[in-house]
């Protein structure tokens, strides 16, 4: 089959690889109809996530049709149309029982590697380094889906691929980012980053009852999408100082809760500051450029929640723990426990509460994946989301 493989920093290519096979009874094989490039794939592309190997198939946002099932999969049959959640979860351990699917205790065969890095293991994730299990990803024609009896959600309704594809990651990730804020009536939410997760965090915050949502980015086309499609008020941090703008917009209170949907490769408007962390990150003196998170913490109203939806991989310098402690802030975070949200969010889509396809800006064939990565990374051609069609 054809698959998008990582072959080094800033290098992906579409290659012929063997077709996936059923390895375990609870496996299924999915023939992929649509797959997307995620912002977190860019962290792999840029070489900031450790434990990648040349030849790793990328991609953790995909959907398609079941073409084979293992003996242990009784809820799915050949021909079913499914969306596959990016965390791989067994469904039976204590973490899964508590709904914490992205920290499933059984699905990462490289658990001890992850334990060395993070203190304890995370779940397996499709196409996301050997730290999260070394699973082949879904930017390919086919994918093997482990624990298929608890992961994939069937989509029978007449919805288009692009309306349901983002149930695999970015919609639930943005949703969980907003949910972690425990939004109450009257709350003002600030969202750093207007990529796909940021767009869904904004939309979700409104669905969860936020009074107002303020979005922060530097790309006008992304801010425009946040305003027009997700309904946010916006701040372009290259044009106005964020702190003053937020204070002004909230009557001096600051946002009640803040969502970081930027993650480890943040950008800073001050070239000196940006260069400082850029150099430290490139020389592996720190693994994160934490401007967005630092700014979210420093601007959050006392007693509020800073919710981290963006991906971080290791260690950040100058983390303002003093602000967190002394101003009674709460930090909540986690890789999204997608399985928890599939059903309720599919219902939201079916109800017409939201149509997630609004984020799609680019559609390409699978063979154009390398071009898709470049376009997305450099935000060329007003790119927000690339969907690949195998």
């Amino acid at each position: 089959m054809r698959a998008t493989v990582w072959s080094g920093r800033n290098k992906v290519q579409v290659e012929n690889v063997p077709d996936p096979k059923i390895l375990n009874e609870r496996d299924a094989i999915v023939k992929i109809s649509s797959t997307a490039i995620c912002g977190s794939d860019l962290h792999l592309y840029d070489g900031y996530i450790p434990a990648m190997r040349k030849g790793d198939i990328l991609g953790h946002e995909f959907m398609g049709e079941i073409v084979e099932t293992g003996r242990g999969v009784s809820n799915l049959k050949v021909g079913d149309r499914v969306v596959v959640p990016f965390p791989i979860a067994c469904g039976h351990c204590n973490a899964c029982a508590r709904g914490l699917f992205s920290v499933c205790e059984n699905s990462n065969p490289n658990a001890s590697m992850a334990e060395k890095m993070f203190g304890d293991a995370t779940s397996g994730i499709f196409g996301y380094s050997h730290l999260t299990g070394g699973y082949a990803g879904g930017q390919a024609e086919y994918a093997r889906v482990p624990f298929a009896d608890v992961g994939p959600i069937k989509v029978d309704s007449g919805l288009e691929d692009e309306q349901v594809l983002f149930l695999s990651d970015v919609f639930p990730t943005g949703w969980m980012g907003a949910e972690m804020c425990n939004i109450q009536p009257g709350d003002v939410i600030a969202v750093w980053g207007c990529g796909p997760v940021g767009q869904f965090a904004i939309a979700s915050a409104y669905l969860l009852g936020a009074e107002r949502v303020i979005a922060i980015d530097r790309f006008e086309y992304r801010l425009k999408m946040a305003r027009e499609k997700a309904g946010a008020e916006t701040i372009n941090y290259e044009q106005q100082p964020v702190r003053e703008a937020l204070r002004e917009m909230t009557g001096g209170r600051g946002p009640d809760h803040c969502i970081d949907s930027v993650g480890m490769e943040a950008h800073h408007h001050n070239p000196g500051m940006y260069a400082y962390d850029r150099v430290k990150q490139a020389t592996r003196m720190e693994s994160e450029r934490g401007y967005a998170l630092r700014e979210a913490i420093l601007n959050c109203r006392s007693g509020g929640t800073v919710s981290i939806a963006g991906v971080y991989g290791g260690f950040m310098d100058k983390f303002p723990i003093g602000a967190v402690m002394n101003r009674s802030l709460t930090i909540k975070t986690g890789q999204c426990h997608v399985q928890r949200y599939l059903r309720p969010l599919l219902e939201r889509i079916e109800n017409g509460d939201i149509d997630p396809s609004f984020i799609v800006t680019h559609r390409m064939s699978l063979d154009e994946a390398p071009n898709g990565y470049e376009t997305f990374k450099h935000k060329q051609d007003e790119c927000v989301k690339v969907v690949l069609k195998p």
Binding site: A3, V5, V17, P18, D19, P20, K21, L23, N24, E25, R26, A51, R53, K54, G55, D56, I57, G72, I88, C90, G91, H92, C93, N94, A97, E105, N106, S107, N108, P109, N110, A111, S112, M113, E115, D120, A121, G124, G127, H130, G133, G134, Y135, A136, G137, R144, P146, F147
Partner: protein, 327 residues
């Protein structure tokens, strides 16, 4: 998830040379006491009441040194006692040679033998005194004590039943090739050792408390003396059962073997952790999680060199399915 602790003891060194010298003490001392006249004639010295008394005294000293060497964890002091005794013997033999020896040749030979023993005693005494450590070129077994724990979302009785069936161990203990029950609490174990060397032994259950605890140990004749136990403790708050495992074994090749195994990723501390993870996976998830990068499932040595995360070709897949194919 999995907690682990490990202690390694150097253990009392075997001190082979010291033991040999201890045996030598007995072999010499017993005839010296029981038949001093014959010994006198054998070494060619005058045989009378005085020399027999001296010979008996020397014999008593030899036996005391032998008992000392065998009964002490650190026989160094007794080796030095032997060195002193040898010096005395050499002095006596020297006197015999200077005086009237009936068979000077025999006395000379006896002097040579005592000189040899003196040298051996001196070398060993020095070696053991120097930090009381055995020589580096003599690998000694080291006893390793490992502890690990995990929590499994199942009740104690179910986990006990799973663990009580020793024949299932190879499904989650990757280093075991086969365990066969041989009846009445006994079993035969076949393990894959480092560098592909198979090790086999018999074991017996030493404690069996249903739902709570199982302990076993290897029977005499095992090349790797080992014992183990597993305890099942109810976890708080409806989380299932805490499984506490303890293993103790002597690693062949001692510290050198242990280092070698570590380099090959087969160090016992890693194995026990991998094993517990696989055990938990089988019981909770019903199968061992396998990926394209780690097709065998949790295996520490695979993590040192993962495969690329893309599907295996058919021939390699078959090798993994057959339990081989770790390259």
């Amino acid at each position: 998830m999995t907690a682990i602790s490990k202690t390694t003891n150097g253990g009392p060194p075997r001190e082979n040379l010291a033991k040999g010298l201890g045996i030598f003490s007995f072999a010499l001392g017993i005839p010296q006491i029981l038949a001093p006249g014959r010994v006198n004639r054998l070494i060619g010295v005058r045989d009378d009441a005085t020399t027999r008394m001296v010979m008996r005294a020397v014999g008593a000293r030899e036996i005391t040194a032998g008992v000392g060497i065998f009964s002490q964890r650190r026989p160094t002091a007794w080796l030095w006692a032997r060195v002193a005794g040898d010096t005395m013997d050499l002095a006596l033999l020297g006197a015999a040679l200077r005086g009237k020896s009936r068979h000077p040749g025999r006395t000379l030979a006896a002097t040579g033998a005592v000189a040899g023993a003196f040298a051996a005693d001196l070398v060993d005494g020095l070696k053991l005194s120097r930090g009381e450590a055995p020589a580096a070129d003599q690998p000694q077994p080291s006893s390793m004590h490992l502890k690990a724990a995990t929590t499994v979302r199942r009740d104690r009785d179910e986990l006990y039943a799973f663990w009580r069936d020793f024949e299932r161990f190879p499904t989650f203990m990757a280093h075991l090739a086969e365990v066969t029950s041989t009846g009445s609490g006994r079993s035969h174990w076949n393990a894959k050792g480092p560098l592909g060397m198979n090790v086999e032994w018999d074991a017996e259950i030493t404690e069996d408390v249903p739902g709570e605890r199982i302990a076993w140990r290897s029977l005499e004749g095992a090349r790797v003396d080992n014992s183990g136990s597993v305890r099942f403790v109810e976890a708080p708050g409806d989380q299932g059962t805490e499984v506490h495992i303890e293993l103790r074994y002597d690693i062949p090749g001692g510290s050198v073997g242990s280092l070698l195994a570590k380099l090959l990723g087969e160090e016992p501390a890693m194995q026990i952790k991998d094993d517990l993870r696989r055990f938990k996976q089988i019981v909770e998830a019903g199968e061992i999680a396998r990926s394209d990068g780690a097709p065998e499932g949790q295996l520490n040595k695979r993590q040192l060199k993962p495969r690329p995360a893309h599907p295996l070709p058919d021939d390699k897949l078959a090798a993994v399915a057959n339990g081989g194919g770790t390259s």
